[in-house]
Structures are given as structure tokens and as C-alpha cells.
């Protein structure tokens, strides 16, 4: 029996500006402490690696923040260290998130040289109005240039889109998706702008405006219509939905992100990163989050201590809940054997109501079901 997989996530918190919708741990220090931060990540790797012994590494994901501001040599240090530590297979997915502004061909080539084999470009939209309201500095042309530049370096390019934002319409959402479909893109993440305080790690500036009633946003019906327009355009281009917000050409589904949705372990390194380790037998797990402030993170790691800021022990109940919640986000759905037996009739009702289908003994949400994923899961919770 093969060992269970896990993924490695490394967070690079530094950004030129803080986008007002982003709830990741971000720092806009003028001078990025490249060496110091890299050293700290490597120290943390050494501290945390032993607890992942016995698991099989599948992926490395460098997210942020803006990891395309990370010097390629330092990125190489990190990729090399992770490979050495865990014997990451040569063809394992290594993703680096890139901002359109930093997608110069030479820089991207250097990342490829550092071991990166997948770029994720934060485009968000091609509409100047939408981009401005999202606080993005790049324009539509820069975004397109960035994608082409990335694709010229690596065949595996992913792009992020946001819809449901201020100024977003069905027309902008559709044209964003269509424009992407015409570009050399293998993977698309399309997110509805989310300012719900309960799912954000912190109150982002747009959420504050929203709370103060100063940010008019499209209605739920409108957002649903935008999502449908995005889906339709991507589907026409052969980019298939495999998770609520994720689409890919066949074979280009994200290895790393599927680890989260499959309830497997992940090692998070760096400022504000989260890690989760399932125990043998998968009856319990530990999830932890690192300090979100770079100063606290650096100081702790440099003192040789784990930079854990929060920790949560997950018992059998929480794991069942998460399993339901995560598996039902995906095209693969949830094996019926994992459904709480008392919820079988509920699942049948979902099928009758066309919110789900049964496919090879798995419960899979339909497009309509995915729109109300939270409500569906809530009904199925034990």
C-alpha cells in the first residue's frame, strides 16, 4: 500500500501594493528581506519536516503575496531544499504565482531554471473598470502580455479571474472568460468576489466599504448569471470545471489544490501559511496557522521555535464535516460510503431536486447544486 500524499505550500507575503480584496497575509515593506525570509522558510522547513515523514510529497506551491517578487535564486534555494528534504519527484507540480507586472520573460525563465514548472497569473479581469475597482495596477494588455510571456516559458499556465465585483457585469465576465479561452491557458480559477466577514481571514478594505454601505455590488442573481457566463465560455473552449471555482484543460487540473479537496495533509511554510497533518488512521488531524505578521514570524523562527500562531485539533466529527464540504466541491464528488447513513434520504432528495446526481456510487453536485454548496453541505452534516 502506497503512502498517503501531501503537498507543500510556501507563502511569500511581500507585495508592491495590498489589493483591497485579498485576505492572505501580505506585507508591503519597501525593501523585501529576500535572504532573511528565505533563510527563515528553510529553518521552518527543517523544524516541521519530521512530522511529515512517511508521507509522499506530490506538489510544491509558492503563493502569496507576490512570489514573483522573490529572487529566482532564492526560489531555487527553496525548491531545492524541499526536493532534497522530501524527495519530491522530478515531474512533480511546482507552481509559482505571478503578478502580471512581474512577468518579464527573463524573470520567468529564471524561475523555470529554479525548478518551477507551472505559473499562476493573477489577471482577475481584462476590463479596465473592473481592474481599477479591484485596485489592480495592471491593464488588460499587460495581463494578456503576461499570459503569453508565461506560456512562452512553460506550457502549464493558470490564470485567476474575479467576477461579481464592482463594475462586473455578465458581459465583462463573459468577455473575460472568452478572452482567456483564446489565450494559451491550461487552467482557470474563477472566483466570485467574496467579502463575507465569516470566511475571510481578516476584514479586507473592500469588506469594510461593503459593511459601511459604500460598495454597491451586483445582486446574487446577477453574480450567478456572471458565473454561468464564465462557465459557458470556458466550457466552449474545452476548459472543464473540476471544482466549484476551478477549470482546466484535460490533464491540467491542479495537483496541489486537489490535495486540499481530497482532505490530504499539507505542509504550510512562511508567513500566515496553514498546514494540516492527518494522523495515521485519519481519525484526527492537527491544523495550524503561522504568524501573519512578518516580524513575528521571522523572530520566532530565528529563535529556533515553530512560528505557530493558532492551532486546531480536528476530531472525527470535524473531519467528516470537512470531508463532506470539500469532496462536494469537486467533480468527483463524495463516495456514498462516506455519507453519514442517516443522511441517505437527504441525498436522495438532493438528487430528486436536481441539486446532485449519483454517479458510480458517488454523490456529485450539479451546477445548480454547486451554486448553493453551503446549504447543501449544511443539510448533509451529521
Amino acid at each position: 500500500m502506497s503512502a498517503r500524499p501531501f503537498g507543500v505550500y510556501v507563502h511569500f507575503p511581500y507585495c508592491a501594493v495590498h489589493c483591497p480584496y485579498c485576505d492572505f497575509a501580505v506585507s508591503t515593506e519597501r525593501v523585501i528581506p529576500q535572504e532573511r525570509y528565505t533563510r527563515a522558510v528553510l529553518v521552518e522547513l527543517a523544524l516541521r519536516a519530521p512530522s511529515f515523514a512517511g508521507l509522499e510529497p506530490r506538489s510544491l506551491y509558492l503563493g502569496g503575496g507576490t512570489p514573483s517578487l522573490w529572487d529566482a535564486e532564492r526560489v531555487a534555494d527553496v525548491v531545492t531544499a524541499v526536493r532534497a528534504r522530501f524527495r519530491l519527484p522530478a515531474d512533480a507540480e511546482v507552481t509559482l504565482e505571478a503578478n502580471p507586472e512581474s512577468c518579464e520573460p527573463a524573470r520567468l525563465a529564471a524561475y523555470r531554471g529554479a525548478g518551477v514548472n507551472r505559473f499562476s497569473v493573477g489577471v482577475q479581469s481584462f476590463d479596465p473598470g473592473v481592474l481599477a475597482k479591484l485596485g489592480r495596477r495592471h491593464g488588460p494588455e499587460a495581463a494578456e502580455r503576461a499570459i503569453r510571456a508565461a506560456a512562452a516559458v512553460l506550457p502549464n499556465v493558470a490564470v485567476d479571474l474575479i467576477y461579481g465585483a464592482r463594475r462586473s457585469t455578465v458581459a465583462t465576465a463573459r468577455s473575460d472568460a472568452e478572452r482567456l479561452a483564446g489565450l494559451p491557458v491550461a487552467h482557470v480559477s474563477a472566483y466570485a468576489l467574496t467579502l463575507d466577514p465569516e470566511v475571510l481571514a481578516e476584514e479586507v478594505p473592500l469588506a469594510r466599504l461593503r459593511r459601511q454601505g459604500r460598495l454597491p455590488l451586483p445582486s446574487d442573481d446577477e453574480v450567478v448569471a456572471q458565473a454561468r457566463a464564465v462557465r459557458a465560455a470556458l466550457r466552449r473552449a474545452g476548459i472543464r470545471r473540476y471544482e466549484i471555482s476551478n477549470f482546466a484543460r484535460a490533464g491540467f487540473e491542479s495537483v496541489h489544490n486537489r490535495i486540499y479537496w481530497a482532505s490530504e495533509s499539507y505542509l504550510g511554510l512562511g508567513v500566515g501559511a496553514f498546514g494540516c497533518r492527518y494522523e495515521e488512521g485519519r481519525e484526527a488531524a492537527l491544523r495550524w496557522g503561522n504568524h501573519r505578521a512578518p516580524a513575528a514570524y521571522l523572530a520566532t523562527v530565528e529563535a529556533g521555535r515553530l512560528p505557530t500562531a493558532e492551532e486546531e485539533r480536528l476530531g472525527a466529527r470535524e473531519l467528516v464535516e470537512e470531508r463532506l464540504m470539500l469532496a462536494l466541491r469537486t467533480r468527483g464528488g463524495l463516495p456514498l460510503s462516506e455519507l453519514p447513513p442517516s443522511k441517505r434520504s437527504e441525498a436522495d432528495a438532493l438528487v430528486r431536486g436536481r441539486l446532485a446526481v449519483l454517479r458510480e456510487d458517488r454523490l456529485v453536485l450539479t451546477a445548480r447544486g454547486m451554486e448553493v454548496h453551503s446549504a447543501v453541505v449544511e443539510r448533509l452534516l451529521p
Binding site: G164, A192, V223, V224, S245, E371, V377, L381
Partner: protein
């Protein structure tokens, strides 16, 4: 020869809700030194939390005060506090029967209210000496002389000596005490005669068993005495006697004319019915105290646990409640929609609300209470008569030969300005006018026969709103009358929900069906599926509304740390739904089942 009970005065206070009964009682207790001002700060007589919140008295209370009057003599004043709501009219009558006098509190700016009037008439029926008091004279809107005139005109009492009072400011308290001593007659009765005492309240105490609050009319109660309850001939031995002064303290005897508590190893509160007569074994009194009746619930509703696991807890709680409330009844009931629960009977809607709140608060149960129903009399085609207390029990229409409903005689009292509105409301509620009397130039007394079912459905609130709070209501059961009634069923996504059914008059059925569908649409939250709400009479759909499905919830990213936040949000949402009942695929909030009470005309 001076009798042993000549220094006793038994009196109650009659007042409309909010006219200041509790505050006045507190002042009397303070003035007589029964309690200190500090002890009185939480109004002493209303000692149940719910009572205090609602500003009304549910259980009778008594307190014994010692008062040294201006004539230099010491008097024992027993204040017998009466329940203050129309649901408890019988209890009021029994408390009044225990008194020789009553202090009538009238608000100096509001004047005489119907509820007060009804109690005054009861007091007069019991030959009580009435001492009018005009309270709240400290308010700028006070009109002492106007109210004095009104007391004379409306009630026909001599109000020359009515005491201008401000219970809040402590004005007039001594005058009231003096008038009680001077005007209320001492109780009669011979302490040596055969025992005759009436129970005017009883409750269950987990340490002492049933405690009976009694007024002795003849003879003497003493510990070790063998007593007998007149209605069921059961015998008990007196264990303890006591009085409240204001806290319970034991006494060695209660003689004719006295008021106090008796503990006699009675296990079941239903053996100590309010109004029953206590006498002694071996030397029984010839005649029981008149007016005893067994109070019967007038209004019924289903009570179901939201979580079926709470069924046993609910039953235990109901058993406990019944220990203390002989007017409350329950029996098991099964609903297709709500599962296993109980059909509960109440004196009225206030009583129902009190029971419901106590179950939720004191026993921490999450419950669904279905719309209240009255008891209908059904004569089937075989000629058989059957009483039904739930719409679900109504036989199919083709088996019904005759359907009768209970009718109330309602006494409404209001301002002449509001007469039009009040009459319209009564007409709308299928009322039949019996009497309309102008009293003075400002007030009117209206008597209507109205079906109980119409009164149950927010009649009182409506009355208050059409009269800007001035009108008041008192009623008694008149009898049964045949009516053209139909059962209105409700379907959610095509499935009938039996617990939502109501019985309505045919003429109102379409309107009610539409109103209720509208109300259900308001209270049923959007869910994953569209919810079709239909009202039906038999197989015929008469109204329809749709709760649209909600369109989206959070299509966001879900990685790493998002997972915990998202899971906790789901847990919280699920917790929030615990107060909803899932019927088929539809989640129905508690208030939907009482929507019928909340329909705006």
C-alpha cells in the same frame, strides 16, 4: 362577647393591568412594616419572573400585615392578590370569595376599564365592600374629579371618599389602610362550628407536596386534624399550617375568618382544586362553599419537540407543569409532519403563551407550538356527537352532518370615538351585537356574541390597535352554535403539512388562505429548493405563493486556512437551523406554525 376574628380584614386589590396594583401592594407592605423598602424594591407580589415581565399576576398570593390603626388597635390585614387576566376569571372569582372587601384602583388619567369593571361586578356579586382609590394622581394628565364622576356613573359606587393616591410617590397610603379597617367588615363565622374552608389556590412544592391557600369560613383548622375535600371525598391529615407575612411562617391554627396555607400530604394538585371546600372528617359541614366548578381548557394546541430526541424531556416537563397548574391538560398527539408530541389545553391564549415560555425557558426545550384551536362539536352522519380539539381530527366533510363551535359573550368597553372601529372589528369576526350602551359622554359598553375561534385569532391585539389601546375585553362562554366551517389545509411542495391546518368559516376561507400563504411566505426563509406554498380546501387549491430558492452562497476559494473558517461557518449555520423543523425537504421555522395568529387584516 367579642369574637376572636373581629380584628381581621380580608381584602383584595382590583386593578386594570398597568394601573399600579403591584406598586400599591408594595406601599401597603412598607407602610405596615411588613417589608422594608429595600425588600419591596422588586415588586413583592409578582414573584414569578414571567409575571414580572408581563406585569400581570398569574398565581394568587396572600400576605398578612399587622396594622396599628388611628383608633389605637392592631388589625390583621390579609391582602389576597388575584390573577389579573381574563384567562383566569374563575381563579379571580375564588379569590374574591375569600375576601370581605376590595380596594378598587382606577388610573387617574385612564379611567375605568372593562376588565376592572368585570372584576368590580364580581366583587359586588360577592357582596364585597369596595374602596375606590384613584391612583397616579402625580401624573400631569390626572383628572381626579373626572374619574371620581366616572366611578359613580359607570360603576354606581359612591366615590365621595375615593382616596386620591400616588402609589409611586407614597401618597394616600394611610388613608387606604384606615378605610380598609373602617369600611371592610370583619369576617363572620364561628371558630367552634364544623370546618368549612375554601381553596382559592394550590400549587406543588417539591419538598412539601401540594400547598393549599385557603380561607376558613367556619370552624378551625389545626395540625393533625383529619380533613376531607368536598368534591372528591378524599381524606388527608393536616401537617402544617402557615401564613405569609410576607415570608411563610408556621401557625398553630387557622380560625374562621383567617387566610393561610395548609399542607396535608396531598400528592396531586388535581386533588386540591381551586374552589373546592375543605371540611373535617367526622363532623362535615352541611353545605360546600358555593360556586365550585372544574375549569376546563378552552384552547388547544399541539406542542412538538423540534428534535425528536427531546420527546421524553418534553413529557417530563409537561408532567411537572401540570403539577402546578390544574387548568392545563395534555395528551399524546401524533402529527405526520411533526412526529410525536402532545395536544395541550389552556384556559386562553395568555395561558398558552405562559406555558410555552416556561417550557422553553425553564426546561430549555426547543418546541413547535401549532396554531391554537377551540373545541368543535361534530355530529356525524350516523348521528354521533364528537368533540374535536384539533383540525387534524375533523372527519372528512362528507361524514359531517353538523358542525358547531363555541360562542363567547364578549363585553367590550371603549371610548365613544372608537365605537365605529370596534363594531367593525366585531362584525368582521362574525360577531352578533347584543347590546350597546353609552356611559356618560365618553364611554361605551358593547356586548357581542363572537365565536371563540375568532377571539383566539389576535382579536385582543386588533381591539387594542383599533382603539389605540383604550378598549378592553372581558368574556364568558355562552354556548355552542352551528356554523359553516371548513378545514383549510396547507401544502408545502405538494405535501400536506397537517400541523398547519386550521378550521375557518367558509365565508372567510379564501381570504384566510391567501393571507396565510402570504404570511408563510414571509416567515419561511429561502432555501436550496423553491418552496411552493398552497392553501387547499379538500382537493381544491385556493391560494398559492412561492418562496424562491436562494441563488448562491459563497462561491469562493477554499484552500488551507479557508477550510477551518468555512467549516465553522457551516456549523454555525446548522446550529442556527436547530430551531427549524424539517418537513419533507422544507425547513420550517417555529413561527410558521403560529402564522395564523399573526395575519394582518
Amino acid at each position: 362577647m367579642p369574637q376572636e376574628n373581629q380584628h381581621i380584614r380580608n381584602f383584595s386589590i382590583i386593578a386594570h393591568i398597568d394601573h399600579g396594583k403591584s406598586t400599591l401592594a408594595d406601599r401597603l407592605l412598607e407602610k405596615t412594616g411588613t417589608v422594608t423598602a429595600r425588600e419591596a424594591q422588586a415588586q413583592f407580589l409578582d414573584n414569578m419572573e414571567l409575571e414580572r415581565e408581563r406585569g400581570i399576576t398569574i398565581k394568587a398570593q396572600t400576605v398578612r400585615m399587622i396594622y396599628r390603626a388611628l383608633d389605637g388597635k392592631e388589625y390583621v390585614l390579609n391582602l389576597i392578590d388575584t390573577p389579573g387576566h381574563v384567562d383566569f376569571a374563575y381563579e379571580v372569582s375564588r379569590s374574591l370569595a375569600a375576601c370581605e372587601g376590595a380596594v378598587l384602583v382606577v388610573d387617574a388619567s385612564q379611567g375605568v376599564e372593562a376588565q376592572t369593571l368585570a372584576n368590580v361586578y364580581q366583587a359586588l356579586d360577592h357582596d364585597l365592600e369596595i374602596i375606590p382609590v384613584i391612583n397616579k394622581i402625580d401624573l400631569p394628565s390626572a383628572d381626579v374629579e373626572g374619574v371620581r364622576r366616572e366611578i359613580e356613573e359607570v360603576i354606581g359606587l359612591d366615590a365621595k371618599e375615593a382616596v386620591p393616591t400616588s402609589a409611586k410617590e407614597g401618597i394616600g397610603i394611610q388613608d387606604i389602610l384606615e378605610q380598609i379597617v373602617r369600611k371592610v367588615p370583619p369576617p363572620g363565622g364561628d371558630p367552634q362550628a364544623a370546618l368549612k374552608a375554601i381553596i382559592f389556590d394550590s400549587w406543588y412544592d417539591s419538598y412539601r407536596g401540594v400547598v393549599m391557600l385557603v380561607r376558613v369560613f367556619e370552624g378551625t383548622l389545626a395540625p393533625k386534624q383529619r380533613i376531607q375535600l368536598f368534591s372528591n371525598k378524599r381524606e388527608f391529615e393536616v401537617q402544617d399550617l402557615g401564613v405569609f407575612a410576607p415570608f411563610s411562617r408556621p401557625v398553630t391554627k387557622l380560625i374562621a375568618g383567617e387566610v393561610g396555607v395548609v399542607v396535608a400530604n396531598v400528592k396531586d394538585v388535581h386533588d386540591a382544586k381551586v374552589g373546592d371546600t375543605i371540611t373535617e372528617v367526622g363532623r362535615p359541614t352541611d353545605e360546600p362553599f358555593p360556586g365550585f366548578k372544574v375549569v376546563k381548557p378552552m384552547v388547544f394546541s399541539g406542542v412538538f419537540p423540534i428534535d425528536a430526541k427531546d420527546y421524553d424531556n418534553l413529557r417530563d416537563a409537561l408532567v411537572k407543569l401540570r403539577l402546578n397548574d390544574s387548568a392545563f391538560t395534555f395528551e399524546p398527539e401524533t402529527s405526520q409532519a411533526l412526529g410525536f408530541g402532545f395536544r395541550c389545553g389552556y384556559l386562553g391564549l395568555l395561558h398558552m403563551e405562559i406555558v410555552q415560555e416556561r417550557l422553553e425557558r425553564e426546561y430549555e426545550l426547543s418546541l413547535i407550538t401549532t396554531a391554537p384551536s377551540v373545541v368543535y362539536r361534530v355530529t356525524d352522519t350516523q348521528g354521533e356527537l364528537q368533540e374535536i380539539d384539533s383540525p387534524a381530527k375533523l372527519p372528512p366533510v362528507q361524514r359531517i352532518a353538523k358542525l358547531e363551535e363555541p360562542i363567547l359573550t364578549c363585553h367590550l368597553h371603549g371610548r365613544t370615538d372608537d365605537v365605529g372601529n370596534i363594531l367593525k372589528l366585531c362584525q368582521d369576526r362574525r360577531g352578533v351585537q347584543r347590546d350597546l350602551k353609552y356611559i356618560g359622554t365618553r364611554r361605551v359598553q358593547i356586548t357581542y356574541d363572537i365565536p371563540l375561534a375568532e377571539v383566539v385569532f389576535d382579536f385582543f391585539d386588533k381591539l387594542k390597535s383599533v382603539s389605540r389601546g383604550y378598549a378592553s375585553l372581558d368574556y364568558e362562554l355562552k354556548g355552542y352554535a352551528e356554523a359553516d366551517l371548513v378545514k383549510l389545509d396547507f401544502l408545502l411542495n405538494g405535501e400536506p403539512v397537517d400541523a398547519l391546518s386550521v378550521i375557518v368559516h367558509r365565508d372567510h376561507s379564501y381570504q384566510r388562505g391567501r393571507e396565510l400563504c402570504g404570511k408563510l411566505k414571509e416567515v419561511i426563509p429561502k432555501q436550496m429548493y423553491e418552496v411552493a406554498i398552497q392553501a387547499a380546501i379538500g382537493a381544491k387549491i385556493i391560494a398559492r405563493e412561492t418562496v424562491k430558492a436562494y441563488r448562491k452562497n459563497v462561491l469562493a476559494k477554499c484552500y488551507g486556512g479557508d477550510i477551518s473558517r468555512k467549516r465553522k461557518l457551516l456549523e454555525k449555520q446548522k446550529e442556527g437551523k436547530k430551531r427549524m423543523k424539517q418537513v419533507g425537504s422544507v425547513e420550517i421555522p417555529q413561527e410558521a406554525f403560529l402564522a395564523v395568529l399573526k395575519v394582518e387584516d
